[in-house]
């Protein structure tokens, strides 16, 4: 800090002036409630400032987009898990079912299971197609 050295008054009159000024030019104190008013001004300004509003909306949009992406990834993982789990379960079932079918229905009986599966699959596809096509609404 550079306190006054060469700017100090020299003679008695200047000393007297310096002391008088020091006494009468007193630093004003901060008005009461200055900080609260500043806080209020910041809140008011933030509420009406288009730049701040735009930034807030962008932040909100980014957060929603991140949440959607997170849900989408979770859904894909769940679907993949279901498919893999289903395939393993079907394999296990076939592993136990084939010897039993062969024993009861003969060697050609093994074709019955895939045939039944294919028939059920085709039936489900046809039902879905029927509903989606809107033909069902045309019927009385």
């Amino acid at each position: 800090m550079n306190r006054v050295d060469d700017s100090m008054p020299g003679d008695a009159l200047e000393h007297a002036l310096d002391r008088a000024l020091e006494r009468h030019l007193v630093a004003p104190s901060l008005p009461a409630g200055f900080r609260q008013q500043l806080q209020a001004a910041i809140i008011r300004d933030g509420a009406r400032d288009p730049v701040a509003l735009s930034a807030a909306l962008e932040r909100e949009h980014a957060a929603q987009l991140a949440a959607l992406q997170s849900d989408y990834v979770r859904l894909r993982q769940r679907t993949l898990g279901t498919l893999i789990g289903g395939a393993f379960a079907a394999g296990l079932l076939v592993n136990f079912a084939l010897p039993w079918i062969s024993a009861h229905y003969g060697p050609n009986g093994v074709f019955a299971l895939p045939a039944i599966g294919a028939a059920v699959g085709l039936g489900l596809c046809a039902r879905v197609w029927w509903r989606r096509s809107g033909l069902a609404r045309l019927l009385p």
Partner: protein, 200 residues
């Protein structure tokens, strides 16, 4: 103008800058306000000479600081940056005042009239005379002189607040005192030194 480093070598306001780097803008601003609100208000008072206008200008300056704080790039020291914003805000206020009002200042005129009426004896009147003489000084001399006493004679702080070299501040201080002494002599006082001593 760069603010000098502290004796421990750490640049001033480094804590606030670190907070800003970490994205803690609100905490940084809170600390900044605690450190600078008085100085900003005193700078506004010395430039504008009106407590209400100074309060408005200080509030608006700090509001601008708040809005610009995330974009503070450290090209200047934090204090220099804050004082620059404050000075610009004060200049805008002065310009607005010039447009809205006439150039006459009733408060100053009253004090100047009392000076011209003669040399009163009471201390309160003498203080008013002294303040009137200060108010009559040219703007740059008055601002420097006022801020110098507000900041407890810290020339480097005044220089930083006004964005001027220390040499210029000292020259302005010297000239302001010379002008005050000339005007004291012009009052026709028998003993100006004694008159001032009664004030101090």
């Amino acid at each position: 103008m760069q603010q000098s480093a502290r004796p421990d070598g750490i640049p001033p306001d480094q804590d606030i800058v670190e907070l800003l780097r970490g994205g803690a803008v609100e905490t940084a601003f809170e600390r900044l306000v605690g450190r600078y609100e008085h100085k900003v208000y005193r700078l506004c008072c010395s430039v504008l000479r009106d407590p209400d206008q100074a309060q408005d200008a200080a509030q608006e300056s700090l509001l601008r600081v708040w809005k610009a704080l995330p974009r503070y790039d450290q090209r200047a020291s934090l204090s220099t940056w804050i004082y620059t914003i404050t000075r610009n805000r004060c200049l805008t206020a002065i310009e607005r005042r010039r447009i809205q009002e006439s150039l006459s200042d009733p408060a100053v005129e009253l004090e100047v009239e009392s000076v011209q009426a003669g040399a009163p004896e009471r201390d309160a009147d003498q203080a008013a005379i002294l303040r009137g003489l200060v108010a009559e000084l040219p703007e740059r001399h008055r601002t420097v002189l006022t801020l110098y006493y507000f900041e407890e004679r810290d020339v480097s702080e005044v220089a930083q607040m006004l964005g001027a070299p220390e040499g210029t501040i000292k020259t302005n201080l010297h000239r302001a005192r010379e002008l005050l002494l000339e005007r004291l002599h012009a009052l026709g006082l028998a003993d100006p030194a004694q008159w001032l001593e009664r004030l101090s």
